[in-house]
Symmetry: C3
Subunit: 188 residues, 3 copies
Amino acid sequence: MSAITFIDYAGVAVFAATGALAASRKQLDIVGFIFLAAVTGIGGGTFRDLILGVPVFWVANRDYVLICTVVALVVFFGAHRVESRYKLLLWLDAIGLAVFAVIGAAKGMAITGSPAVSIIMGMLTACFGGILRDLLAGEPSVLLRPEIYVTAAIIGAGIYTGCELLHLPGPVSYLSGVFAAFAVRGGA
Amino acid sequence: MSAITFIDYAGVAVFAATGALAASRKQLDIVGFIFLAAVTGIGGGTFRDLILGVPVFWVANRDYVLICTVVALVVFFGAHRVESRYKLLLWLDAIGLAVFAVIGAAKGMAITGSPAVSIIMGMLTACFGGILRDLLAGEPSVLLRPEIYVTAAIIGAGIYTGCELLHLPGPVSYLSGVFAAFAVRGGA
Amino acid sequence: MSAITFIDYAGVAVFAATGALAASRKQLDIVGFIFLAAVTGIGGGTFRDLILGVPVFWVANRDYVLICTVVALVVFFGAHRVESRYKLLLWLDAIGLAVFAVIGAAKGMAITGSPAVSIIMGMLTACFGGILRDLLAGEPSVLLRPEIYVTAAIIGAGIYTGCELLHLPGPVSYLSGVFAAFAVRGGA
C-alpha cells in the first residue's frame, strides 16, 4: 500500500469515526452508526468525484465502505469507554479535514490541472462530509460553528497546490498541506 | 408494461404520495405539493444514478415526473378526506421503501456486478428520497426517528442480492426482497 | 461577451450576493461569506449539470467562482451600509430566480430537447441554490416560506420554453421568461 493510499484510508477512517460518534451522541442503533459513518467518511469525496465527472471512488474500490463499517462497529462497541466523545470527535475531525483537503486538491489538480479548481475541490472534499453529518444528525452545521473550519481546508488545499506548482516532491506537498490545515484547525 | 416497470412506477407513486402528504401537513400550495412529491419520488433514484454514473432515469423517461405530478394533484384534492394523514404516510413510506430497496439493488447489480455496491445502492435509493423530503419540509429526519428504516432497506436489498447470487428467477428475487423489507419496516 | 453570457454572470452574481447577505445576517467571517456566496451562486447550476450529465459549468470556466468571490468581498466590506439587508436579499433573490429559471430551461432544452425536462431544469437551477443556502445557514427554507417561489420559477421556465417551441427569436424568449418569473415573484 502506498503512503498516499494509506493517508487516504486514514482520512476516511477518522471522518467515519466522527460520523459514528455523532450517531453515538444521538443514541442511534448500529445501522445508524454505519450509515452516519459512511456518509461522513465518503460523502465529501463522492461530491468531489461527481463534480469532476470521474467515477465515484468507493464504487470501484470496496475497501472504503468496509473501512467505514469496521470503524462504525468499533465505535459502537467502544464509544462508551471514551470520556469526552465530543472532544475526541473534534480532534478526529481536524485530522480528517486536513487529510481530505489535500487529497481533494490532489485529485482536482490531477484531473483539471487548474489551481483554483484544486483548492475548491480540497475544500469541498474536506467540508462536505461534515456538513452532511451535521445536517442528517440534526446538529448545528460545522459551517456555522467554528468558521475556521472552511478556512483551514482552503489553507491546506492552497499550500498543497502551491507546492505542486513549485514541483516539490509529492510527499513534501502532501505533508505541508496536511500539517498546515491541521495547525490552523487544531490551533483554533 | 413489464412487472418490473410496474412495481418501479408503483414505488415512485407511493413515495410521491408521502411527499405530497408531507406538503399537506405543512399546508403548502399546489406547487409545493408537486415539488415535494417529485423530490421524494425521484430523489433517491437520482442520487443512485449519479453515483453509478448512468443517465438519470427520469430525464430519459418522462413518465416518472408525470406520475409524481398526478399523485400530487390527487393528494392535493383528496387529502382532507383521509382521517390520519400521518398514519397513511407511514404505510405508504414502508411500501415505497421496500420497492426502492430492491429496485436500487437490482440497478446496482446490473451495472457494477458487486453485491456490496448493490446493497448500498438499494439503501440509498430507498432512504434518500425520504431524507430529502424531511430536510426540505423541516421535519425530523426519518434517519433519527425510527431507525429500523435504514435497516429494513438493507435487509430488503440484501435478500434480493442474495437471491440474485443464487440465480433464483427474477420475480422470486424481487418479491422476496420487497416482502422482507416491508415486513421488517411494517412490523416495527 | 454575449448578452446571454452577461445575464448568466449577472444571475450568478445576484444569487451570490444573497448568499453573502445570509452570511452577514449570521455574522460569519470572510470565508463564510465566500462559501455561502459560492454555494448559492453556483449550487443550482451544479445540480442541473450533474442531472443532465454534462460537465459542471464552473469547473471549465473559472469566471463563475471569481464572480462569487468578488461579490462576497464586496458584501463583506459594504453590507453594514445597507439599511435593510433582508429586503435587499429578497429583491436580489427574485432577480436571480428569474434569470436562473430561464438559463436552466435553456440548457435543458439545448441538451435534451424536451420541454418537460427543460421546465424542471429551470425550476431546479433557480430554486436549488436558495434551498442550499437556507439549509446551510440554518434558516427556514424558501420552499416553506413564500411558496410562490417555486411557482415563479416554473412560470418563467415555462414561458421561455413555450417561446422556444414557437421559434421566437432567442432574446425574446429569454426576456419574456425572465420578466414573467420576476413579475410573479416580485409581485408576491
